[in-house]
Symmetry: C2
Subunit: 703 residues, 2 copies
Amino acid sequence: GTGADNDLYINQAIVFIEDAIQYRSINHRVDSKSLWLYRWYYSRTCQWILSLTITLILALAFIEKPSSLTLTSDVRYRLPAWNPPCGLTESIELLCFLVFVVDVSVKSYLIGWEEFWKNKWLMAYILTLVVSLTDWMVSLSFFCTEVVRVRRILRPFFLLQNSSMMKKTLKSINSTLPEMASVVLLLAVHLSLFTMFAMLLFARTKDGQQDKEWVKYFRNLPDSLTSLLVLLTTANNPDVMIPAYSKNRAYSIFFILFTVLGNLFLMNLLTAIIYNQFRGYLLKSVQSSLFRRRLGIRAAFEVLSSLRETPANAQQSYVSVGALLQVLQKAEMDSRCKQAIMRSLKMCSYDQLSATQFQKLFEELDKDAIKQHPPSPEYQSHFMQKMQFAFGHPYFGYLGNVVALANIISICVVLVLDADKQPSERDDFFLGAINCFFILYYLLEMLLKILAMGLKRYLSYPSNRFDGLLTVILLVLEISTFAVYGFPHPGWRPEFMGLLSLWDMVRLVNMLIVFRFLRIIPNMKFMALVVTTLLDLVKNLRAFAGILVVVFYAFAITGIMLFQGAAVPLGNARITAHCSVAPTNSWSIGQTTLMILLFFQAHFIYCLLHLLFLLTVNLICRWAKIYFVAWWLISSVIWVNLFVALLLENFIHKWDRRCHPESLSDIEYQRTVELMFRDVLEEPTEEELMEKLHQHPHLQLCR
Amino acid sequence: GTGADNDLYINQAIVFIEDAIQYRSINHRVDSKSLWLYRWYYSRTCQWILSLTITLILALAFIEKPSSLTLTSDVRYRLPAWNPPCGLTESIELLCFLVFVVDVSVKSYLIGWEEFWKNKWLMAYILTLVVSLTDWMVSLSFFCTEVVRVRRILRPFFLLQNSSMMKKTLKSINSTLPEMASVVLLLAVHLSLFTMFAMLLFARTKDGQQDKEWVKYFRNLPDSLTSLLVLLTTANNPDVMIPAYSKNRAYSIFFILFTVLGNLFLMNLLTAIIYNQFRGYLLKSVQSSLFRRRLGIRAAFEVLSSLRETPANAQQSYVSVGALLQVLQKAEMDSRCKQAIMRSLKMCSYDQLSATQFQKLFEELDKDAIKQHPPSPEYQSHFMQKMQFAFGHPYFGYLGNVVALANIISICVVLVLDADKQPSERDDFFLGAINCFFILYYLLEMLLKILAMGLKRYLSYPSNRFDGLLTVILLVLEISTFAVYGFPHPGWRPEFMGLLSLWDMVRLVNMLIVFRFLRIIPNMKFMALVVTTLLDLVKNLRAFAGILVVVFYAFAITGIMLFQGAAVPLGNARITAHCSVAPTNSWSIGQTTLMILLFFQAHFIYCLLHLLFLLTVNLICRWAKIYFVAWWLISSVIWVNLFVALLLENFIHKWDRRCHPESLSDIEYQRTVELMFRDVLEEPTEEELMEKLHQHPHLQLCR
């Protein structure tokens, strides 16, 4: 019937507009039931459950068997880690798998059979699930005593496939791979030629005293290769050349050439290549998001224009304002945007909208939310007005900064004075009294500012929120100190009471005071620029960070599987000396990676290189070497370079904008990536949109 | 008289054209005598003498008193360095100073009195000379036993002031300094806040067992600052966090935050800033060179147009072809260009040239010299033609590459097999016989190629020259081996004879064979791109390298002066263990820098950091710390970033051009920086040129 048809069109329009808002593809089924399923699948609850499931399955590694999640990493003081009974983690896993099965079924159904065959990600998803479930059954049938658990390595895939940003980024990284491979090939050629040179240069001599270099670093091909590879990472930098250098200074030329060519030139070439490739990456991704948004809105227009109530006589198609209002009321979107669109819809005089007018209405979505600070209260009394002027003035803020600086300096002076004193000799009175005074000033400053600005306006500034929160925490700490240990007086050295000792309390207060000093950041222009760049970068880096997590997770699990128990004969003392990250019996490098090193590669790399270096001596396992080299290449070389490339891109863009007077003004910084590139984005043409719409696999347009 | 005037004009034109060719400024005196002096000053001999003098005075440091220029750096085997008698280096210095005095006088005279007062470089030059000469006299009056020699630190200034490129680059670096200073300030804030945190976090506890971190790294303010500063360079990376980490894993968060913020973010910010600043640097410098060239040519045109023989009636000024021919014959320029200009001058039908025509004639100077390879010989015999086709074909070259690869592999196999054999067990027969065969093949390949291409054409390719030279050297080595040790036979293990032992001869041959393998580079497109970028970079980096030499020299001399004898109590063993670069009694770090480390910073930095680390324990000298930190900041951080910036600039430019089909073709690569930017350069307008000409301090134009 016509009514049912109209309802369908309205529903389609709602979903298309929601797609546009979320930058989603519109290529899904559009019949009534599918639309209901689609809205259900993309509802907040469902997506939240899915995210929770992914987090859960990834977090399982922390409590699974070869786990070293204990407070201290020192074997002597460490309690044995908790070992979950067989079946506990497995049942959690099964639950997660069931959620994933539902997820993949719904996804596959929604995009339709034909599209499904073209979508490699979905196929891989199904394959992963099948392998995981099989492995799970094998695991249960062995009562959790099986050696290898393949499904663990596959886990990060669930994270990867759930984010379209990550998939896009991966595609982008993938397209850089050929060029990166060329440089890596060059590095390999460089390495092998120099290895041959080295083996010829530092050959064994008949005089046993003269060939220290040979004995230590160039004994055979694997040794030489490793020595030079480690030199490429500068980890063994002067050591490797010292024996030769002390024999004849001219030998240093060999090492100089190797380092200059390999480190200074080839490594930076990698940076250049990655930077060059990713220069346009952000722009391109923003451009395709814009296209998706315009396409969703256009699709909504097209389905609404086929409603029966529209007169069919016009050449151009039109949409009635009433239908759009109906759609808007049901669509889920930001309330500010919704109200703005409704308002302009009511203001317009005609009741038919053309495609251009329709698009224009939704441009509100692209707009920056200019944050309006609430007004200051208006006081009647003359005295209060003067107070308001004085304490609302920026100079009062600067005074606060100066006081905070004075506090920091006083803490610093006390620290220097107390540096060599025994803890028993320390007099906590001075610092206690000083901090008490300063915290009172901070409280006063906060209250006066609230008086001058009003609570709402005060809280609308992030710097004030930061400031106020820390002041309140400091006050609470100070009051509880007094409550437990009494007021400070000379020779104030009470015994340990309550949760923390007085000394710990004072330390905590001091740390918070140092932390509070960061409030000066917005007052320094260059610092503010740097910090906003940092924040932007973090936003843009989410996809990269996700991929990094995936890579680290896979490496960690592989590491656990490879080295579990294999390294016991190495001896703890030796490893502890070189790299105390993993002084455990089971040498759970992977676990350690997972735990602390997700974002702290430099340390891990260093450790690995030390271990790598050890391994060449001990020759436990050839696989370990390959594993470490792969780890180094992927995590250090490529990821750090990606980071540098994005930083350059972001920073240079910001820097160029800084010349425009309107930027870096007092307006709160609320720009998204989309807005940053607004002036260079290209609007898709009508033809492109319509062509794409006609290619839609499920939507049959009337014309 | 008129004749004398005409001669003057002709001479002026000659000098202006020579200025244009050399991209020199034309703001010098233009009377007859000054012109003669100017041409004499810029003659090759004079400039060569000046360069020699600069090299000489800089090289003096290698033989002066605290020198450690010996073959081995090991104190045990080392002979005492030669100590020149008092007066020897001093008289060489005086000679150099005299040359500089002449140089500065001529320069000052040529630019004229008024310009002299505006030229800060010349004033600084004179000041430097006065200080140096005074110091020299003090030195002589103490019979070379004075403690401090100020003039040594001033020496690199002579290098700096002689190169306009360096002065320009320095100006450019100077303009980046404010922004770099901001980042360094941020780094300082970062460092000091984290130092305070660390001191509060890792404070001394009452339990002596628990505060290992405090004892080792955070005992007092200077210790803490140093620990974190060294962490910023990643030199003490995992070590510094191990005691805290083994107490509680959560402490690693502190170190992670510090490293991520400082190392990954702030350090890369420096790269971004420097890259951003130097993005336009090359283009700007090429643009100003172009302006100088056009200005010189225009000036020549203007003076030639005021020759009496020109008819004065025309509104436009003209230059007669005859006068130009006269000028061209006397001017010193590239003979190819001169001939090309003469040719086009003779071909043109009119005998008066307008300004535009005049400029156009000299555009030949900007043009690329397209290298024409001489033709192959044309053989009559059918057999020879077939031979020529076969051995002139690229496939024959590829076959040569394959053979070279086979040779490399055979050497590699022998090396691996012989790795663990005693030198006495080694059988040199196999490798000897194989190399003999391969070298014969190389000889044959060279001869056949010469046959096919003709000697001239063969030598016109750089890859063939490289190939041929190495083949000839290999042949000579092989023949001399046979002459001394006879032909190879099984069990060929002769005694030591002649200059080198058989084993050394074989090693040398093998090294040359490995080196010869680099002939594959032009055959791999990506490698060729990388190598040409490298070569371009070296060209563009000359100015930077010069500044680097200046900085290193100053640092080295300062180091010698600061630490001469001061570090003796440190004990050799300790220093040798950490950094064997300077295991000498006089600890001549500066000397060592000068000698091997001009272009090998990574090593030196590492050493210095080790030493720095030691110094914090030993606390010899506060100056040393400041010296090392300054050294690290300038040489490692700033210079490496400059290098990366230039590499990015060069490489990205190249990479973008690669898309154009004509580039990377078979045409020999002979582009200069000027040509690389030709399509983006702006031609100066007539008005700009004339305005600049009218500002000339010495040239009065008629109109």
